[in-house]
């Protein structure tokens, strides 16, 4: 149409790319499952605190109000007990989503490391016994009992880097 000449490439474009990299770096990511768990963690803490506060308030109400013992019982049942229940739920949530994260991590890591080590042992033995002289240690044979891995093309990722 009118102007087919290209704008000159300049420092401005590099700056644009740089800015893009920074923007992407600062982007808040959501949607990963870790995010949901963080929320539960927060809810757990909030419930814990709210429950304790409610329990205390309930106890104070009992102390200050209610002429008759029946009234006091009612308040206790409805205020303090509810507070304690909330606190327990909150604590449970907190434990579930804080501890579990790390337990799971260690589990995966242990599984993975043990598997990697098994692979290396097998590879070493094979190498040593001359079964597969060219086979690099990085080609883990599938465990015999395991079902076949999902179809893997050229996209199959390289085995986990060692060290």
């Amino acid at each position: 149409m009118t102007d087919q000449s290209a704008n000159p490439t300049g420092p401005a474009t590099d700056a644009r790319i740089e800015q893009f990299r920074n923007d992407v770096e600062e982007m808040k990511l959501k949607g990963s499952s870790g995010e949901g768990e963080k929320w539960f963690l927060v809810i757990g803490v909030v419930l814990l605190v709210a429950g304790v506060v409610l329990a205390v308030v309930g106890a104070v109400t009992v102390a200050t109000s209610g002429a008759s013992p029946a009234d006091q019982r009612a308040n206790m049942a409805q205020g303090s007990f509810m507070g304690i229940a909330l606190a327990i739920v909150g604590a449970a949530l907190f434990l579930r989503y804080s501890l579990a994260r790390y337990l799971r991590f260690w589990l995966i890591r242990l599984t993975y490391e043990s598997r990697a080590n098994t692979d290396r042992v097998v590879a070493a033995i094979e190498r040593a016994s001359g079964l597969e002289p060219t086979g690099p240690a990085t080609t883990p044979p599938a465990p015999p009992a395991a079902p076949p891995a999902p179809p893997a093309g050229p996209t199959d990722p390289p085995p986990f880097p060692q060290g």
Binding site: A74, N75, R104, F105, T111, S129, P147, A149, G163
Partner: protein
């Protein structure tokens, strides 16, 4: 001349309110594709809140306006979008309509609970007592203010939608949601803002209308229904069209008030209520003028679940069983309970009328009770002796009226049919059922049926009549579903365009189904044999019928029955628990009756998550029961036994509720197991020890629930109800364990969990990375796990050893 000017000003002021309300409706519809039937209820809530804040709590006027219009309403609208509407985005039109209608009913119930109709709640007009002289006519400042606000809203919306990025994005999201995302817009947030804006506009209209009316939840909600007619002028999408419609309607209503002789009448219909009927008339005219909707080929999406069509044998057996059970139960009931139950089964007949229309053909009607009323009226007129000829005439009249009402709207999309039927209900209420000449004394006594020697002389016979009619009609409908017509209706629901290219006249077919549906509803009215008040034929009475029919599972006859019983259960429950209330702490006490008033609406809203309704799920769990005659018999016997025990005063009311829950949910599904022939090869067959365990469990669970002194052990009603629910739930879980079969509804899809990775198949690098990412560990951190030095050394020496050999 003065008179003309006066009425013009009054009309323009009404028009201004309509315009504001309608623009809110158009904003939400264009941005989300959901026609908000609850729009009027939004405005109604705002009006009440405004009264509460300004009159109840005595806050300054300006602050009240700000709080209601600019804070509470928009937040509420955004909340509704986020919590309810986002879930039904891709749902069928029927579900969309039912969910918003349910929201309207729920809000109505809520308003009645919070602001009971016990006192008058006057709201003084703005600038009270201040007038301005215009061409010799005194015009209140408040009217000028109203008009000024409408103009302001018009200008504001115009600017918003053409000048601001947010407004343009609201229009863009309709065009192409994902393209908006690719541009960087956030459709979810845009939709929330649009709903907030819509609710804000509803609030403006509510606050403006509050001083002009006595605050009544139903009147206010329905008043804003008038805006449907206004919005239709702009084909529900155009703001200028809506404003034009508002002016036409406002002026027409005002002139009708001023110039139509209130005492004049056309035949038996007096013109006194003409202004109230004008919106409905206008809606019909506008719909008539609309060009036919274009057919579209979308490509057919796969249905969520294909509904099973019952065999005719099942239908016949079911019908006979229904009649027998109803007859047995009815014989045992006290007169007061009997009349309630009779009503409930009568409702089932009316929900049944929606099965061919909504379930098979995918169309919706919001005026079923109006057809009941027409049927009843025709019966009174032509069958005063209770003769079957009168019934036949009633049915025919309803079919014809139904066809005439539906014809114009059926050429357009489903939403117009919903609007047209709603308008028809309003029209009939004001022009027919509220006319002294037509229903003298404000009550309509439908003569009980009398066919030769069989006369319906009491409630029990009435109940039998309903049960037999339901059974027969249900069988006919199943027959229709299995016939060529049923296949055609299903096909039409699946792909209208394909049907048209095969030579099916879509409009004629739909009109036929609508007429059939109206006829069945009319039959329900003609056979009712009781006294109706005109209120029962109004729009607010029709809405729960449609809602609960869809909740019950409109695709099947059984679903209609469940829906009808749910509908009947509300008044039964309200009577049963009339004196009870649920206390939450000691701050709030909710009467059960109030909770039940909100319940149907909440059930309808829950459809957003279960669009197929309850029946298919329940049916899956109980199908085996229906196939085992001894199980069926035991079920009936158990229910009757419990009922007798309750009636005889052996077990108290609460125990009856608990035992009923336990019996129905955890005993009945196990019965087939108990009676199944012993076949070691069969999957669900049970070995004798398991049978004994099952039988023992059944007896223990039921007896425990029936004999536990609920009322004495737990003093608060609320806690008692919770504990009973818990017991019922636990017993159902045990039942599931015993039968070893997980009900369909409890089955969850298997989602691969990061916890399992590496244990069920070889761990790949991307699995490990996925897992690591899931718990927030970076790639580098993960890779840092170095080789084990001990193992490394071991390997080295091993390698050396082997190598040396």
């Amino acid at each position: 001349m003065d008179k003309f000017l006066t009425f013009t000003v009054a009309g323009l002021s009404t028009a201004a309110i309509y315009a504001v309300a309608a623009s809110g409706l158009v904003v939400t519809y264009t941005t989300s594709g959901i026609f908000n039937f609850a729009h009027g209820a939004f405005g109604m809530l705002a009006a009440f809140l405004f009264w509460q804040v300004s009159q109840g709590w005595g806050w300054p006027l300006w602050l009240s306006v700000v709080v209601v219009v600019f804070v509470a309403a928009p937040l509420f609208g955004a909340l509704v979008e986020r919590v309810i509407m986002r879930g039904i985005e891709g749902a069928s039109e029927v579900v969309k309509i039912v969910v918003t209608v349910s929201l309207m009913v729920a809000l109505l119930g809520l308003a009645t609970v919070i602001w009971p109709q016990d006192i008058a709640r006057p709201v003084p007009p703005f600038f009270e007592g201040r007038f301005v002289e215009l061409a010799g006519v005194r015009v209140a400042w408040s009217r000028l203010l109203t008009m000024a606000i409408a103009v302001g809203v018009a200008v504001g919306l115009r600017l918003l939608f053409t000048r601001t990025r947010l407004g343009i994005a609201m229009r863009a999201v309709v065009d192409d949601r994902s393209l908006l995302q690719l541009n960087g817009g956030r459709p979810g947030r845009t939709a929330m803002l649009a709903w907030g804006l819509g609710a804000g506009l509803a609030a403006v209209s509510g606050v403006l209308i509050a001083p002009e009316q006595t605050l009544s939840a139903i009147t206010l909600t329905l008043l804003v229904v008038n805006t449907y007619a206004v919005a239709v002028v702009g084909r529900l999408r155009s703001l200028p069209g809506a404003f034009l419609g508002a002016v036409i309607l406002g002026l027409a209503q005002s002139y009708a008030t001023g110039y139509v002789n209130q005492t004049a009448s056309i035949g038996p219909i007096s013109l006194q209520n003409l202004p109230a009927a004008l919106p409905a008339i206008m809606l019909f005219i506008v719909i008539l003028l609309q060009p036919e909707a274009r057919l579209r080929a979308h490509g057919v999406s796969r249905p969520r679940t294909a509904l099973r069509v019952p065999s005719q044998t099942t239908a016949v057996v079911g019908g006979v069983a229904l009649v027998l059970v109803v007859a047995a139960l009815g014989a045992l009931m006290a007169p007061s309970d009997l009349s309630l139950v009779t009503k409930g089964v009568g409702f089932a007949l009316i929900t049944l009328s929606l099965v061919p229309l909504t379930g098979y053909a995918g169309q919706i009607s919001l005026a079923q009770m109006t057809f009941v009323g027409i049927g009843a009226l025709a019966m009174v007129t032509w069958g005063a002796t209770g003769s079957p000829v009168g019934v036949a005439i009633s049915v025919a009249v309803c079919a014809v009226v139904g066809a005439v009402v539906a014809l114009p709207a059926l050429r357009l999309s489903g939403i117009y049919l919903a609007l047209a039927t709603a308008a028809f209900a309003l029209f009939c209420t004001s022009m027919v059922f509220n006319q002294q000449e037509i229903i003298p004394g404000g009550s309509l006594q439908v003569p009980p049926l009398s066919v030769g020697p069989f006369e319906v002389t009491n409630d029990y016979r009435q109940l039998l009549l309903f049960a037999v009619t339901f059974a027969v009609l249900a069988n006919l409908i199943v027959l229709v579903r299995r016939s060529s017509l049923g296949r055609r209706l299903t096909a039409m629901k699946d792909s209208p365009v394909a049907c048209a290219t095969l030579g099916l006249n879509l409009t004629a077919t739909k009109v036929g189904v609508f007429a059939m549906s109206a006829a069945i509803a009319g039959l329900g009215g003609a056979l009712a044999g009781r006294t109706f008040s005109p209120d029962e034929f109004s729009l607010p009475s029709s809405l729960p019928v449609t809602m609960l029919a869809v909740v019950g599972g409109i695709g099947s006859v059984a679903g209609a029955f469940i829906g009808g019983l749910l509908l009947g259960a509300v008044p039964i429950g309200a009577t049963f628990f009339a004196a009870n209330a649920i206390g939450v702490f000691r701050f709030v006490t909710l009467p059960m009756a109030d909770l039940l008033a909100v319940a149907p609406g909440l059930m309808g809203i829950s459809l957003g998550r279960e669009p197929d309704g309850a029946a298919p799920q329940v049916a899956a769990g109980y199908r085996a029961v229906g196939q085992s005659p001894p199980a069926l018999a035991t079920t009936a016997a158990g229910l009757v036994g419990l009922w007798i025990a309750a009636r005889a005063g052996v077990i108290p009311k609460w125990s009856f509720v608990a035992a009923l829950g336990v019996f129905v949910l955890s005993v009945v599904p196990l019965l087939p197991l108990l009676f199944a022939p012993v076949d070691p090869a069969a999957e669900h067959s049970a070995a004798p020890p398991r049978r004994v365990a099952t039988a023992v469990w059944m007896v223990v669970a039921t007896l425990f629930a029936a004999l536990f002194p609920w009322a004495d052990a737990i003093s608060s009603n609320g806690y008692r109800l919770l504990v009973i629910l818990l017991v019922v739930f636990l017993s159902a879980r045990v039942a599931i364990g015993l039968s070893g079969v997980t009900p369909e509804a409890l089955r969850r899809p298997v989602v691969p969990s990061p916890d399992l990775v590496g244990t069920d198949r070889p761990l790949t690098r991307s699995d490990a990375m996925d897992a690591a990412r899931a718990i927030g560990i970076s790639e580098d951190e993960f890779a840092a796990a170095g080789p084990d030095p001990v193992l490394e050394a071991e390997l080295a020496t091993m390698g050396a050893r082997v190598g040396n050999r």
